[in-house]
């Protein structure tokens, strides 16, 4: 790893224009007496250049006083609090330290540097995000970088007060102590190169997946690390590398969510003589503040778990949101004909527009009932009720997700069965590329599976969609599928639902060349 510098004159000009605009807006807001109405969500979206910003949204419980955040005028779009490059951190903790303690202290330090309450930063989602990221970086477990779980390299900074030994731009260096490691990492994560990470981590509503998205944000707002990231693997194209790297981070988030107690309770090495054998790691679960099932030890944590600001049952417009709106979050064996309400609505609209929906030949099947909170209920349904089954179809579902999410409004423009869908994808090399998939870790959100290969027994008999782990609460699901049936056997009717990727090695795979938005809006999933 090496430090790269590059000119961002053009980007800086754009940022300056944007910051000037934001500054004017802030002044205007102050003048009308609502200077404190800028929520942490708003700051988050401003800094990450996402559509999350909603000037009418006041639901966040932890607003950031805009006057606490000082905008830099040096061209950096990230809001860097003054003095972020200095200071000390005193956790007051004693050995042995576990990984979770490092993450919590780091979040507290970041909150302090950004001038927000610690409770905004110390959420389990943020701890999971950091734990997953550190796990992939070594986490000071399997290398000799003590108190440096992220391989943090204080690029261009003077960290002599914190580093133990020589400074290394590669990040393979140790810090003097647990607290020195926390402080050094907090400085970097609130600094001008990686500051977008700190911004994400003080938004109480941001998720671990948001953190990964922020990590992989190569927009002009995220200066510095893009060419360096490219340099990490010059043999792969930027898009491919970024996607694979991002998917690996998302897998780690799923792993950290699932195996939280085991990963978070690892005792950090205190000297290079401590074993780096993954089989010999020591654990101390008694110190854990959070647990895999989402519970916490509130007396020990001076931060409360955040509460979602989302609307019950609401979903946004991203690809992942559309999947969550249309598909049940768990697998149900066929026959299962109950549709998620949003999918039933979408199918009715598609039929009116004379679009392909597949499935039965009559009317739309009934949608699920809603509970008192408006959440769809997955009650037992064995396709015995009167009704028809249009839209209960593998290719009909894939078509709807791609079209309705606007990821590809023309998907399956031939409005037909799987062979026609395959013809569409394979005849648009500017939109989709044929890819090789052998293992679950190869799969990327947006991947489209077509059954078999030319000449195989059931070539083009089935299709499904990969959405990535983390789309659904149960981390084992990485795909969504639906299945049709007919009088042929009548047992495999399944409305769209979460699935595990099957026949990975036997299928023909295509991946979209356009971005797939895996951002998930807050909201309550179906039960």
């Amino acid at each position: 790893m090496r430090h790269l510098t590059y000119s961002l004159t053009h980007n800086r000009r754009r940022r300056l224009q944007r910051l000037t605009f934001i500054g004017c807006c802030l002044i205007l807001l102050c003048n009308i007496g609502i200077s404190t109405a800028l929520t942490s969500d708003d700051l988050y979206s401003i800094n990450t250049n996402t559509a999350f910003y909603d000037p009418t949204d006041t639901c966040s419980g932890s607003d950031v006083n805009a006057t606490n955040a000082s905008l830099t005028t040096s061209g950096s779009a990230v809001i860097v609090p003054p003095g972020q490059d200095a200071g000390t951190w005193n956790s007051g903790l004693q050995k042995p330290y576990i990984l979770e303690q490092f993450m919590i202290e780091l979040l507290k330090d970041i909150a302090k540097k950004r001038g927000v309450p610690a409770s905004d930063a110390v959420t389990q989602q943020h701890v999971i995000a950091l734990l997953a990221f550190a796990w992939g970086e070594g986490a000071s477990i399997t290398n000799n970088d003590l108190w440096n779980p992220f391989n943090t390299g204080p690029t261009g900074k003077n960290f002599t007060d914190l580093i133990d030994g020589a400074q290394s731009a590669s990040g393979l260096e140790s810090f003097k102590s647990f607290d020195a490691g926390v402080e050094a990492t907090a400085r970097v994560m609130t600094g001008d190169t990686q500051g977008r990470l700190g911004v994400t981590l003080v938004n109480p509503n941001s998720t671990a997946i948001d953190f990964v998205n922020s990590l992989m944000d190569f927009s002009p707002l995220s200066q510095g690390h893009y060419p360096w990231a490219q340099a990490s693997d010059p043999s792969a194209g930027p898009g491919v590398y970024e996607s694979n790297y991002k998917q690996a981070r998302l897998s780690l988030v799923a792993q950290a969510t699932r195996d939280y107690d085991s990963m978070a309770s690892i005792i950090m090495r205190t000297s290079s003589s401590d074993s780096s054998d993954p089989n010999k790691q020591q654990h101390d679960t008694s110190k854990l503040q959070f647990h895999a099932n989402g519970t916490s030890t509130p007396t020990a944590v001076d931060a409360s778990l955040n509460t979602s600001c989302g609307t019950t049952g609401s979903v946004g417009g991203s690809f992942a949101d559309k999947v969550r709106a249309y598909a049940w979050p768990t697998y149900h064996s066929g026959p299962y004909c109950l549709m998620m309400p949003a999918y039933a609505t979408a199918i009715k609209a598609a039929i009116e527009n004379k679009e392909y929906v597949g499935g039965g030949f009559g009317g739309v099947y009934e949608s699920a009932q809603l509970d008192s909170k408006g959440v769809p209920i997955a009650s037992a349904d064995y396709c015995t009720a009167s009704g028809d089954r249009q839209g209960i179809d593998c290719g009909g579902f894939v078509t709807r997700v791609y079209r309705d999410s606007k990821a590809d409004p023309h998907y399956n423009s031939g409005n037909g069965y799987v062979p026609i869908q395959y013809n569409y994808v394979s005849s648009h090399p500017n939109l989709y590329e044929k890819v090789n998939r052998q293992k679950s870790g190869d799969l990327l959100p947006g991947d489209i599976y077509f059954e078999g290969t030319p000449g195989s027994a059931n070539w083009l008999g089935h299709t499904y969609l990969v959405v990535g782990k983390g789309t659904f609460p149960d981390q084992k699901y990485d795909s969504v599928s639906a299945s049709v049936s007919y009088s042929l056997h009548g047992q495999s009717w399944r409305t769209p639902m979460a699935s595990v990727a099957d026949d990975i090695k036997g299928g023909t795979w295509y991946h979209p060349l356009f971005p797939i938005d895996t951002t998930i809006a807050t909201g309550t999933l179906a039960t």
Binding site: M1, H3, W135, G136, E137, G138, A139, T142, N151, G153, A169, S170, Q194, L215, H225, S232, D233, E242, A248, S251, L252, Q255, D277, P278, N279, Y331, G358, C394, G395, Y417, V418, P419, I420, Q438, K439, S440, G441, E451, P454, G455, S456, A457, N458, W459, G461, H462, Y464, K476, S481, S483, S485, Y486, H489, S492, V500, A501, D502, D503, I504, G506
Partner: protein
């Protein structure tokens, strides 16, 4: 014509008829005895079926409990075949045989006959549903992919549909040292799964996988 003679003829004919029926029953019983009763469905239904090279009528087929190759042909589709061991095959499951739509003419046939493609998709979807039921019972793959600390090893899985419709699950362990390989096996064992019961393929880690070697987006 006297009545006793007529009655005698009726009795003889009845005995002969019953005898023939019994003989047919016994012959059928003997010919089916010890064989697997298999339901074979062809899509399109006017396709031709051969079993071990002999032309056979689709529907209920009795096959000796050994391995047989069932082949389906139907121009303009490409022939396909399934070789199935009927010792272990679950005969409650229908054997679907579908010639492959490789040629443009075959694809055009399916476009012109959407009812046939609908049936093909019903078979594919049924198979997918059976795969989901099988995979949902696999405790290990729900935990995968797993990355050891620092990316020192990874455990992952691949799936492949077999000719009998089941999913073959292969476990992949990537590591660069025997210590890391052992760590991966220990991780599996810690989940109360005996690695000896798994089909495991051992591979080296990709060069850029280990962040200590430079694969990272963070600096």
């Amino acid at each position: 014509m006297d009545q006793p003679k007529t009655q005698k003829i009726i009795v003889i004919v009845t005995i002969l008829f019953v005898g023939i029926l019994c003989t047919l029953f016994v012959m059928t019983f003997l010919s089916h005895h010890g064989k697997a009763k298999v339901q074979v469905t062809l899509i399109p239904s006017d396709s031709t079926l051969t079993v071990d090279g002999k032309k056979t009528k689709a529907g209920t087929v009795y096959l000796t409990k050994t391995t047989h190759t069932l082949k389906v042909t139907r121009p303009p589709f490409s022939p396909t075949s399934k070789t199935i061991n009927f010792v272990t095959y679950d005969t409650s499951k229908v054997v679907y045989l579908l010639p492959s739509p490789v040629s443009k003419a075959a694809l055009q046939y399916l476009i012109n006959h959407p009812d046939v493609q609908a049936q093909r998709e019903a078979v594919g979807d049924l198979q997918s549903d059976q795969a989901q039921q099988q995979l949902s019972k696999n405790k290990l793959i729900g935990l995968l992919p797993y990355s050891g600390p620092g990316g020192t090893y990874t455990v992952d899985y691949g799936t492949l549909t077999q000719q009998d419709g089941t999913q073959k699950v292969t476990i992949y362990i990537e590591s660069n040292t025997s210590q890391d390989k052992q760590a991966a096996l220990t991780w599996i064992t810690n989940h109360k799964i005996d690695p000896k019961t798994l089909t495991i393929v051992y591979e080296s880690l990709p060069a850029d996988a280990n962040p200590n070697n430079g694969g990272s987006e963070y600096q």
